[in-house]
Amino acid sequence: MKLVDAETEKVYRVVAIEGGCHSKDRLIKLGILPGVEIELKRKAPLRGPFMVSLNGSDIVVGRGIAAKIEVEELV
């Protein structure tokens, strides 16, 4: 599933990042790349951005970008 459809306070593993090479590069630089675990911390209301947390740092990504991050839930 995509990060946009994820639930808050759950941990996911990034499976793939599609599309736009520029934002993909930035995501990778911030540590969001296939294989890593991220926690979806909060979603802003009104179709706003998503805040995820990994390795102790918080990163906010726009909704459109969250739609391009494929994740799977960790159980």
Partner: protein, 632 residues
């Protein structure tokens, strides 16, 4: 002279370190990417003068925005003797990515491991000796904020060595890269980057490097490499694994991470409902504080410059010379009258919000609203700053990524009523019509900004890439850096706006010296009187407003031949006041703002915004003229 470059990711404490070693000349910010232009300073190491260059924070050598691009360009175009790579010890994994890239440049290099106190608090214990061994670069642990470890850092800068190791990929990947980089070394001569780095970046799809390779005989090799290495994902994964590996071998976690105070504060400040309530409360408090506190100071400044004018009148007998001198004095007076009471406190508070770490959180809250206008949460700085003065607001658009975003933000930020326009709203509408009209005007202003944004988003070509920002932890800023940073922002105003204000004032006094007012009024009469139903004497007032908006109110009653503002209600009807104020809120930004817009997005953009806002002002004022009598 030896030149040292400070390179690090945003928020690693780079500006703080710069302030520590090179005097207090740089700015420290907690908003990712806020250090935009680089700053230079000098310091002595063992009696030898060295130059220190503070480059904008960057996550990597493949840039994402203009600020990062500046860093990368500077790294390759300046003669840099030593690279000091500052890394945030509490975010080691991600920081090492940049370190590995910098190592590829093969220049003498030192790693300053900053925020050791924060890492300790988070329970991260770093074995610096071990880390040094693994990566092969000298590491100095520091706490920039407290000035700890700076001496050791300076001493090691003197003995800085080239990296002893290199980032090595697995055999197959390494061979593929080598093939391509060999070809690049032979065929692409006019590039300053090491060929291996170009090869890696091109494989990873960084367009600037890709282009260079695609226009060379190495094009086919690049395609082969991309195929083999899964469009670069293979090397990215290997590098990340390497970073993880380095982290695991050099670091021990002593405490299991638990829910920090930080995320508890965030639960409130970023709350889907309370977060907005709090944000609104903060802004109302700031505006109320700055404007009620500022107006007595402004009056005081004006009274001083009135005395200066009187003095000049006695001193200079030649009327023309006096007119020019008075114009210059008035210009300086107006600049100080705005800068001191409103701009300075305002920019200080913005710096505070920035350094504490609140601005990125506002960006998060506002992103969805701003998204609908074709911009993103990162544009909050231009907006918030716009209520103080449009000049620093326009300059803040530099951190935005796409051209489209810059255009829209510049247009919208110039519609935000700056403190000069606020004095007109308060002095005219607030004084004569009551506060409910003031609130209505601000609401209308926000509404118009929103609608203009939506329209511009549709009209302008191109896309605006979405926001990806790093939310820094809450940090207590130091007063010193805050003051410096405020100064850094006021400086824009001083250098750009004050000369404009002075020239503007001189032009204005010359207009009245040569008695050109009637001519000017005549030119504007058809529009002003015919279209908007305003007294024709206001033509010259509006011209004054382009040069200096803060004079609008004073000019208004002078132009109408009144001895004080309170008599205004006898010559202007409430409808006329409202029409006039609305026109003033929206029409052409002042000359200083136009100059800033030209600088940031080009002259064409400046023209478009000037024409666009004036057209908007005319339409809105006309609508006001027709509809106001219905409810006033």
């Amino acid at each position: 002279m030896t030149t040292i470059a400070l390179v690090g990711q945003p928020n690693c404490g780079k500006s703080t370190l710069f302030n520590q070693i090179a005097g207090y000349k740089s700015l420290a910010a907690n908003f990712p990417g806020a250090t935009v232009t680089y700053t230079k300073g000098t310091t002595y190491i063992d009696n030898e003068l060295v130059e220190v260059v503070d480059l904008p924070g960057t996550y990597s050598l493949s840039w994402y925005d203009d600020a990062e691009k500046e860093t990368v360009k500077a790294l390759f175009s300046m003669d840099i003797d030593v690279i000091v790579n500052i890394i945030d010890a509490s975010m080691l994994i991600r920081s090492i990515e940049l370190t590995l890239e910098l190592m590829a440049l093969e220049k003498p290099m030192i790693v300053a491991l900053n925020m050791m106190d924060e890492a300790k608090k988070k329970g991260i214990q770093i074995d610096t000796k071990k880390l040094e061994e693994i990566i092969g670069v000298k590491i100095v642990p520091i706490i920039a904020k407290k000035g700890k470890g700076i001496k050791e850092l300076l001493a090691s800068i003197q003995n800085a060595q080239k990296p002893k190791k290199r980032c090595v990929y697995q055999k197959e990947a390494e061979e593929t890269i080598k093939n391509l980089s060999g070809c690049i070394a032979e065929n692409v001569k006019d590039i300053k980057w090491p060929s291996k780095l170009v090869a890696i970046k091109a494989i990873e799809g960084f367009s600037e490097c890709e282009e260079v390779v695609e226009n060379s005989p190495c094009k086919d090799l690049l395609n082969i490499a991309k195929d083999k290495l899964n469009n670069g994902m293979t090397i990215i994964n290997q590098r990340h694994a390497l970073c993880m590996n380095i982290f695991e071998h050099s670091t021990k976690l002593t405490k299991p991470p638990k829910k920090s105070i930080e995320s508890r504060i965030d639960d409130f400040l970023m709350h889907p409902f309370l977060g907005y309530v709090f944000m609104l409360a903060i802004f109302v408090a700031i505006f109320y504080g700055v404007f009620t506190g500022g107006s007595p100071i402004e009056n005081f400044v004006i009274s001083i410059f009135d005395t200066v004018d009187n003095y000049l009148a006695q001193l200079i007998t030649n009327k023309l010379v006096f007119a020019i001198a008075k114009g210059a004095a008035d210009g300086i007076g107006a600049a100080i009258g705005i800068a001191l009471p409103y701009l300075l406190p305002f920019l200080f508070i913005i710096s505070l919000l920035e350094d504490v770490g609140y601005l990125p959180r506002i960006a998060y809250l506002m992103d969805s609203t701003m998204h609908k206008m074709g911009i993103h949460g990162t544009s909050v700085i231009p907006f918030v700053a716009g209520y103080g003065c449009s000049v620093p607001a326009i300059m803040a658009i530099r951190i935005l990524k796409s051209k489209k975003e810059k255009y829209i933000s510049a247009f919208l930020a110039s519609l935000v009523p700056c403190s000069a326009r606020t004095t007109v709203i308060m002095g005219l509408v607030g004084y004569f019509l009551g506060w409910q009209y003031v609130i209505a005007l601000y609401a209308l202003n926000l509404f118009v900004i929103a609608v203009s944004g939506v329209i511009l988003k549709k009209m302008l070509p191109g896309i605006s890439p979405e926001m990806i920002i790093d939310i820094p932890p809450y940090r207590m800023p130091t007063v010193k850096t805050l003051l410096l940073k405020t100064w850094h922002k006021v400086k824009d105003f001083v250098y750009l706006a004050i000369p404009m204000l002075i020239v503007g004032s001189i032009v204005l006094t010359l207009i009245s010296y040569y008695n050109l007012n009637p001519y000017i009024n005549n030119i504007f009469k058809p529009v002003l009187t015919g279209f908007l139903g305003l007294p024709s004497a206001l033509g010259v007032v509006l011209i004054f407003g382009i040069l200096k908006k803060e004079l609008t109110l004073i000019m208004l009653y002078q132009a109408l031949g009144l001895s004080s503002i309170s008599m205004l209600s006898s010559v202007m009807s409430p409808t006329q006041m409202l029409t006039f104020t609305i026109f003033v809120i929206f029409y052409i930004p002042c000359v200083a703002t136009i100059a800033a817009i030209n600088k940031e997005i080009g002259t064409k953009g400046g023209m478009l915004i000037t024409v666009g806002t004036t057209a908007l002002a005319l339409i809105l004022a006309f609508i006001t003229k027709i509809t106001a009598p219905l409810f006033i």
